[in-house]
Subunit: 192 residues, 2 copies
């Protein structure tokens, strides 16, 4: 499975096979079952997760006791609570497997040492954060621009595979409405 | 003014004076008046802006014709439309000076060359994007967690200087409600 991570790194930087083998020493590979939690609210956020296969989601439990999903991560995406990870604070989020997944994990200490030992990875992580930041900014624009219903149609149009793959109640949790309301929207669309 | 940028860089990386002088060649310093636009909707997003003094904001014009502010940048912050900047696309945003400001600008080509010439700056930009990403993620959580009114009180409590400095109608534009509604909330708070 480490081949997946290597091909991913090579999209951004050149890396020698010996270096790659050493880099992998900083990571641990774990297998998680569907619905298994990697992190729960109140935990110190110690790890950064890279999805080799499967899918993770990040959510928090809102005042009404509902799970509000804020992010998904499929193959080749990183996921953590970035603020809590950087400062090693308790997190307000959960990270849970949506599907059976294989995950690379690295601790914050290990990631810092890794970057000191292999400064060429600064470029890699600069790209990763740069793109993730740009995506997060567009999410904020969408939250202000679209109604929840428009947001759903936008998702179906631009990310059909994503909508196929993720269970409907989690799509609803990501969009911030109830599964019942999502069923209504879908029924309305079909009848159009 | 370049001393400001140097002190800022030195919070993240070590830099020799000769290198710094050469690095500055990649930037241009510009002075903008209050309300002057640095970028308007439809422009190819060519520049990344670093605030030496003053304040910028980024906004888009929504369907109702209102300006929805999505970000502010004060001293030592970067601002651009990151997605459009990376891919050199037309932007959907405006970037405008909130106050008379002094700004460092760099083009995407120049930033790429700069990073190739001075790879130690990868570390600096990795930190910048990492923190900006973490902040953007918290913004998304707040947008789901708080009512507009709670969001305002949160802002007053955690960023009192910011609320003092930014004109009220722009605070309203950032929170996504009308200046009239903001006046109501403030009146209600005073009478409590």
């Amino acid at each position: 499975m480490s081949d997946i991570f290597k091909s991913h790194l090579e999209k951004f930087i050149k890396i020698k096979e010996d270096d790659f083998q050493e880099i992998m020493q900083y990571f641990r590979t774990i297998n998680v079952k569907k619905k298994e939690n990697l992190m729960i609210e109140g935990d110190i956020c110690r790890s950064h997760y890279f999805v080799l296969s499967g899918c993770l989601r990040k959510f928090f439990v809102n005042e009404k006791g509902n799970e509000q999903t804020t992010e998904f991560a499929i193959e080749n995406w990183w996921l953590t609570d970035n603020l809590a990870y950087e400062h090693q604070l308790p997190t307000q989020f959960y990270i849970q497997a949506v599907e059976k997944s294989e995950i690379l994990t690295i601790t914050q200490d290990a990631q810092r040492e890794l970057l000191e030992k292999f400064p060429q990875l600064e470029r890699y992580f600069r790209f990763i954060y740069q793109r993730a930041f740009a995506a997060a900014k567009m999410r904020v624009k969408y939250l202000f621009s679209y109604s929840k219903e428009e947001f759903y149609h936008n998702l179906v149009e631009n990310y059909p595979e994503f909508v196929q793959r993720i269970p409907q109640y989690l799509i609803a949790s990501y969009l911030g409405f109830s599964p019942e309301y999502l069923s209504e929207i879908r029924a309305r669309k079909k009848s159009q």
